[in-house]
Amino acid sequence: MSNYRKEAELDELLQSKEGVKGLIGELPEDTVSLAWRSALNEKLMTEAKPARQRGWLWKPVAGLALAGALALVTFIPRTPPATTANFESKLVNAHLSLSNAREVAGTGLTAYESMQETKAVDSFHSWTEADLNL
């Protein structure tokens, strides 16, 4: 038997007992008491309260947190991100200044000084008394 036919038969059977619906519908209406409603209202107010309280508690906290975050972002100095070109030029400059410093005040002799020193030594060895009569 197809589902459609089954359902049609069921509808027909239900129709035959439609009178019962009238009996159920005519049963006396149930009404709730004022005490019942009052108790329900109290429960609903209790349910509604925590949400309100949480709102009052969390809203200022959230506001303060937001203000703090904004202050941090605004007032803390930010260093610009180093670019590759900046970094390279700084590296070269640092190397040059170090080299210059070594040239001026480094330990030992520079190549030029070394050459001059050699000449001085030679002149020392070739010194004669005639040199004293200047």
Binding site: E7, L14, K17, L23, I24, P28, E29, T31, K43
Partner: protein, 206 residues
């Protein structure tokens, strides 16, 4: 007989536009708007719960719980079903939970009508004419007793359809069962009630 005031109470239900406005406000946890929802449905929900939960104190408690749960979960009400269907779904679930918690299986029918695959049942009583039956206190008691003796499955469908005028589809949505199951349960529930009334019709109950 139903009093005019009681009948009027049952009919009070907001129109769809008003209800939608109330729903929008309730989603924002507006207690005042939810109070109006309670005004509209409290008697019907209480009536349903009272017949589903035998203990009157439990019934009052569960009926309140229905509205508290609805208030808590209103932001999850998606509007796919009507507000009425949603409230009855919550009510039905809470009644089942309460029955399980109290470890009291809802009284099954003395008639063996709990199996839905049971064959068709008809009462060949020519005197059965609901139009001629006048609802008096005695008949009301028999009907109430018969409803209470049904299984929870039959009872919920009977009440939601014949008492609360929910459509088959709405009941199927509220109970989470197919429409065909709703129809077969309704047929069995009506047959059960009809059979319970037979002695009354035969003059056996006085």
């Amino acid at each position: 007989m139903v009093s005019a005031g009681a009948a009027a109470l049952k009919r009070v239900q907001p129109d769809s536009a008003t209800e939608q406005a109330l729903v929008d406000r309730c989603r924002q946890r507006d207690v005042e708007a939810f109070g109006k929802v309670v005004d509209a449905y409290q008697h019907r929900v209480f009536g349903f719960v009272k017949r589903m939960v035998v203990n009157p104190e439990d019934a009052a408690d569960v009926a309140q719980e229905v509205f508290v749960r609805a208030f808590q979960a209103f932001d999850r009400f998606d509007g796919r079903s009507s507000l009425r269907t949603w409230l009855f779904r919550i009510a039905h679930n809470l009644c089942i939970d309460r029955a399980r918690k109290s470890d009291r299986s809802l009284q099954e029918s003395s008639l063996d009508l709990t199996h839905e695959d049971e064959g068709t049942m008809d009462i060949p009583d020519q005197r059965w004419d609901p139009e001629l039956l006048v609802m008096n206190e005695e008949l009301a008691q028999i009907v109430e007793k018969s409803i209470a003796s049904m299984s929870e499955k039959l009872r919920s469908v009977l009440l939601l359809h014949d008492r609360e005028d929910l459509a088959y589809e709405e009941i199927a949505s509220a109970l989470g069962v197919p429409v065909g199951t709703v129809k077969s349960r309704l047929f069995l529930a009506r047959a059960h009630l009809q059979q319970a009334l037979t002695p009354y019709l035969n003059g056996g109950i006085h």
